[in-house]
C-alpha cells in the first residue's frame, strides 16, 4: 500500500531546509509559495528521505481568488506519496516555475494547464497550446469562462 505522507510531516522537513516557503499545511498537502516550487520539488526529488522520482499528475484548480496547482509525487523506492501545492493570485499574469527539468512527464501537462487554465510556466522548453489551436482566445477551464 502506498503510504500517503501527512502534510505536517512533509512541511516540517521542508521548513528545516527552506524557512519561510511553506504558506499553509493541511493533513494531506503542503502549500508552498509559487516562486519556490522548483527548489522544493527538486529537494523532494533528490533528498534521501523523500526520493520522489515519479510525478503522478499536475492539476490546476480555479478558486476565483487564486489558482491552485496540485502536484502529486510518488517515491517508488519508499512506496510513499505526497501532495505539493502552490497558489498564484494574479489572474492576468499567473506565472509559476516549470518542473519539466525535474520530471519530463510534466511537459504535456504544463502545456495543457497553460492552454486550458492560462497559467504560464517559466522555463518550459515549448510552452504553447496543446489541445486548442493557436489564436484561440480565453482559457476554458477557468471558472469565469463562459
Amino acid at each position: 500500500m502506498t503510504i500517503s505522507l501527512s502534510g505536517q510531516k512533509v512541511a516540517k522537513q521542508i521548513a528545516e531546509r527552506f524557512p519561510e516557503v511553506v504558506s499553509e499545511v493541511t493533513d494531506q498537502a503542503v502549500v508552498v509559495k509559487s516562486e519556490s516550487i522548483f527548489k522544493v520539488a527538486e529537494y523532494l526529488k533528490n533528498s534521501q528521505d523523500f526520493k520522489c522520482d515519479y510525478l503522478n499528475y499536475i492539476a490546476a484548480v480555479d478558486y476565483y481568488d487564486y489558482f491552485e496547482l496540485v502536484y502529486q509525487l510518488t517515491s517508488r523506492e519508499h512506496n510513499h506519496s505526497l501532495v505539493l501545492k502552490t497558489r498564484c493570485y494574479d489572474r492576468d499574469k499567473s506565472i509559476v516555475p516549470s518542473v519539466v527539468s525535474l520530471w519530463r512527464g510534466a511537459d504535456f501537462q504544463e502545456r495543457e494547464i497553460y492552454d486550458l487554465m492560462g497559467i504560464a510556466f517559466e522555463g518550459h522548453p515549448n510552452l504553447k497550446r496543446i489541445v486548442l489551436w493557436e489564436g484561440f482566445s480565453g482559457h476554458p477551464l477557468r471558472k469565469d469562462y463562459l
Binding site: 502506498t2 503522478n56 499528475y57 512506496n79 520530471w103 512527464g105 510534466a106 504535456f108 501537462q109 496543446i130
Partner: protein, 367 residues
Amino acid sequence: MTLKTEPFMLNIGPVHPSTHGVFRLRTTLDGEVIIDIEPIFGYLHRGVEKLAEERTYTGFIPLTDRLDYLASMSNNLGYVIAVEKLARIKVPERAEYLRVIIAELQGIASHLIAVGAFLNDCGAFFTPFLYMFREREKIVDLFEMVSGQRLLYNYMRIGGFAQDVPDEFLPALDKFVRQMPGFIDEYDRFLAENEILLARAKGVGILTREMAIDICASGPVLRASGVKWDIRKVDPYSVYDRFEFDIPIGSVDDCYDRYRVRVEEMRQSLRIIKQAMEQIPPGEIRAKVPHLVRPPVGEAYAHTEAPKGELGFYLVSDNSIAPYRCHIRAPSLMNLTALRDMMIGWKVQDAIIIFGSIDITMGEVDR
C-alpha cells in the same frame, strides 16, 4: 559531383489508419530517416473536464466511457472509485469482486486490440487483428449480457453497479476463462517467434528505464522498460490485495517487449478472474447511495491500473451535486511524452511501429 540535399517535411495524420485515431505527427525527414517530429493533438478534444463541472456525479459516468473508448469499464471504475473515496462510500463485497472481474476482462479486450493493431502496423495486415477480434467479441458479448451495450457500457455506479449480472453470466464467463488460455497459446505459436515480427520489432524504439520513469510513463509501457510497478500491487484498490498474480516486465525495453508484456498480462488477468470467480460472494450489488451524491467539501485522487496505465481522477468537491473540478490523469498522454526520443534516428516505417507499440486512444489523449 555532390547532390544537394535538404530535410523533407512529411505530415502523417490526423486521418490515417496507423495513427489509431486522429493523431497528427509532423515529421522532418532526411531521406527516410526521421530527424525531428512534433506530435500535434487536439482533434478529439471535447472538454470533458469542463463538462464534468456541469453534470451530477452520476451523470458524468457516461462521459468517462468516452475517454478510452476501448476500455470503457476501466474508466468507469477509475471514476467511481474516486467518487467513493471522496464521499466515503463503502462498496458491497460482491460488487468489489465483480468489479475486479469486469476490469480484468476489459484489460484483456483492450490488450487484444493493442496487440492486433500493433501487428497491423508491423505489416501483418488484418489477419492477426481479426484473430484478436474473435476473442474480443466473446468479451463484448459478456459485457452486452450485463449492461446491454457493446462499446460504451455505462455499467458501474457510485457504490456498485447499475444491476446485478444475469444468471447465465458466470457460466458463460467460466467457459470463456477455460477457452482463452488456448487462444493466447495460439497467438504465441504464430507470433512470439515469428521472423517478421522479430525483425521489425526487436531492438526498435527503445525506451530506457530511466527515461520511462522520467516521463511518468505507466502501464505496460513502463513495465516493458523493466520497472516492476503495477498499481494493483503497490497500491491495491478494490479487493486486488486478495489475489495472486505476477507482474510481467521487459528487459530490452523495445517494441517487442511491449508486445510480450501485453500478451503476458492477459494470462495474469485470466488468473485473477479465475480466483475472483471462486471467491465471489452472493449479496448486495450496490451500496445505499442517495440519488444525488453530495460529497463533503474536500478533494480526492484515486488511481487505478487501466489497460493503458495509471488512470487517475482528481476530484474537488464543494458539497454540491456536481464536481467543482475533475482532473483526469490520462495514461495515454503521458506515455507519448518520449515519442520524439524514441523515434529520432529510425525510418518512417519503424516510427509507425513505435507509435503502435505505445498503444494510445485519442479519446483519452485529447479528452
